[in-house]
Symmetry: C2
Subunit: 449 residues, 2 copies
């Protein structure tokens, strides 16, 4: 799938054995970033800064004082996470290209473990879109075929991982922004349960939907990185009850519901790939439907628009030209929603959670394709599948918003390749708080198992 | 102040000593209600139902099986609390005059203690107003002078207590609706800390501001009744962390801040009465100001209007004629507020809480008059005081909304009589959760002490 089979786990093994150094890993990553400049995956990358970090890591390890198994491993950071050494612009022209001197909590956790904070990745402007075609530095390109999009908003992170530039990268997910580009680029992407992972220092899109998450090249790497995301952060009130990472076993025969029906259409190729992948596990799988999907989608969209408009209110009033016209239109739409409409959306959200958690019964995981179609071509504005004809933007979030509206942990894993050579991803959603269990359920269906 | 000096405490003593019966107390209350029909304090009152309750109570007591010290004591209920035996109409023409067969949690608690659930009291339509002049059964009248209003929205409860019909009554408070009529009628009124008292079965006005509370004839009675309000109720999620009633001592010399300045004007007579009352205690008292009172008031008003409009949305669409034109205008105004405006109001609320709890320093109680003027005359649309000229509605909530916006426990106690023979009330607000301590601080200033 990529010229570089290296995972964070294999890099950690090589470092532990002394068969490589952080300097080597970092130089290789810098070289590959250069070689795949065509992907437009990075917005900030400073060789001096990262090589200095690698030098310090190698000195620690030589002294027998490695901070953790990931000490010395380069990890790329989406450009909406604050980072001490690099500017944070959310790929918007509105923010200054100057470092703030502050790390987001997850970045600080990784840095404290010795990870190399390896530059900032391209993203959809302000994370307000799922195609990654709107960005201050231009669109990202899919490593499998640069004529195709990566999806977004964490498109640069997924491209960098899928192209083997880095073993892992950070994303954020409000309606699928970790999972969409992971699915489109053939990486593993994880969105934790809402309120288990700190967003402190991650520029918000919609505070009641946002979750940060890792993108990596193996399930094992996801499990290795998740502890740096989960747990109480006094700087993010939503994590007040957050449990830290702790192994959870999965039932030998988990009960899976494959969600289908009106509003959840997909291409035949994608449907078959997911069904084939499901046959590879030991789970019991049944098809199930969600009634009125469209009204719950509208609730998600209203909450997203309102919270984004509230967050950007001042900047929108002071410097409207700081936003591209499409993002500005989204924010203006958010400003038109009335408070009672927003409250109705919140009531629908409550109903949706009840529907998934109670009405659908005692499932262990819900299954959907990550995307209804493989990564679209650049310039292709609409997608046709399963009798639907929708905007490319809507096709990207088609299956992902339910995980945010209900706050569920979700994983996208690559399961197949399309006839045109692009990855096909499958998504599993777990019950709230069962993040670790979801990883073990996903393991059944992992082709790298 | 009233023809009947009886308190719940004195009634409980008499019952315990056997010098009265529940039947006697209930018949007396029914007779007085009849005698003071001019107050228009009751919307539902069924002698058969309450006399049956009294008969059962007397039988229990005769058998030595009294359920609590208040077993057999009549307590009146505001018409927005669901009650098994009486209709609940919120004094709106929209609701059917038929009993629902269900008790609100606080009513159920009192009933379980053997209290006589003594009819339903007149209130401002849907609690959306503080004058009690808008009601399906017409305005309430002040027992001290029927040419004057009671204030509201719990006007019937305060009138019934102040007139000595019952020793205590239930109210609810979104911007002062317990304290305003208590102040105007010369009763004691208590609003608990937000989230300590169950609203289950109380028809909402604004769910993030509403609190239920007792109105009584002595501080001791408030303390006697408060345990029936406080504590976790699985049916009201806001009480998830609620502590039950537990005695809290107050410092011998509590630090009080007397709030004054722009936006908190009051008549000279009221100001002097409060200052005189404060001199009667042992507290240290300083004057303090709140900056930008008007913007915080606007935040309270926006939250109230939006939540009320959301709650009434369906009824407003289906049966607009069910509302009086003034209430309908309020609800229509609530529908026009945008979601980002409502979020801005919530941010101001957060700022206001910080300002009171942190910026103002380590106070034990904040002091305000309950009302800037004594109870206005019926038909008087505006009030002039301290250089201000405001609607009678605004004058009623003038000092009370801060307690709801910040969720603080608050008490109104009578401290003086105006030159025109109407009560003057003083309000004390405590820190969140210090409800019991606030009662002990208030005791310093109680003329009945």
């Amino acid at each position: 799938m990529s010229p570089n089979p290296e995972t964070v786990t294999s890099q950690a093994d090589a470092l532990a054995k002394g068969s490589t150094t952080s300097g080597d890993l970092t130089r290789t990553a810098l070289r590959r970033a250069q070689e795949r400049a065509d992907l437009n995956a990075f917005v900030s990358l400073d060789p001096d800064v990262v090589l200095d970090q690698a030098k310090e890591s190698d000195a620690r390890r030589a002294a027998g004082k490695a901070l953790s198994p990931i000490d010395g491993i380069p990890i790329a950071i989406k450009d909406n996470y604050l980072t001490r050494d690099f500017p944070t612009t959310a790929c918007s022209k509105a923010l200054p290209r100057a470092a703030t001197g502050v790390d987001a909590t997850v970045v600080a956790n990784l840095r404290a473990a010795g990870a190399i904070i390896f530059g900032k990745t391209n993203m959809h402007e302000w994370a307000f879109g799922a195609t990654n075609t709107t960005s201050s530095i231009g669109p990202t390109r899919n490593p499998h075929n640069t004529d195709h999009i990566t999806g977004g908003s964490s498109g640069g992170s997924a491209a960098a991982v899928a192209a083997g530039i880095v073993g892992a990268a950070l994303g954020s997910d409000t309606g699928g922004s970790v999972r969409i580009p992971s699915g489109a680029c053939g990486a593993y992407g994880f969105k934790p349960t809402y309120g288990r992972a700190s967003r402190h220092g991650v520029l918000p899109l919609s505070w009641s939907l946002d979750a940060p998450g890792p993108i990596a090249r193996s399930l094992n790497d996801i499990a290795l990185l998740l502890p740096y995301f989960l747990g109480v952060d006094p700087n993010d009130a939503s994590t007040a009850q957050a449990k830290p990472f702790k192994e959870q076993s999965a039932p030998a025969t988990p009960r899976l519901l494959n969600l289908v029906g009106k509003g959840l259409e997909r291409s035949e190729e994608v449907d078959l790939a997911v069904r084939k992948a499901l046959e590879g596990g030991e789970a019991s799988v049944e098809d199930a439907e969600i009634p009125n999907v469209q009204s719950f989608f509208a609730a998600w969209e209203a909450i997203l628009h309102v919270e984004a408009a509230s967050y950007h209110q001042k900047l929108l009033a002071d410097e409207p030209a700081a936003f591209t016209s499409v993002t500005r239109a989204h924010l203006e739409a958010g400003r038109q929603i009335t408070a009672t409409e927003a409250m109705h959306a919140q009531k629908l959200r409550g109903r949706f959670i009840e529907l998934l958690l109670n009405d659908l019964g005692g499932w262990d995981a819900l299954v959907l394709p990550t995307l209804p179609v493989p990564a679209p071509r650049h310039g292709q504005d609409r997608q046709r599948f399963g009798g639907r004809d929708v905007t490319t933007q809507d096709s990207m979030t088609w299956f992902c918003w339910p995980g945010n509206l209900a706050g569920l942990p979700c994983i996208s894993l690559p399961v197949d390749t399309s006839t045109n050579g692009l990855p096909i991803g499958m998504m599993l959603m777990g019950r709230p708080g069962s993040d670790e269990r979801l990883l073990n359920i996903a393991n059944q269906f992992d082709r790298d198992r």
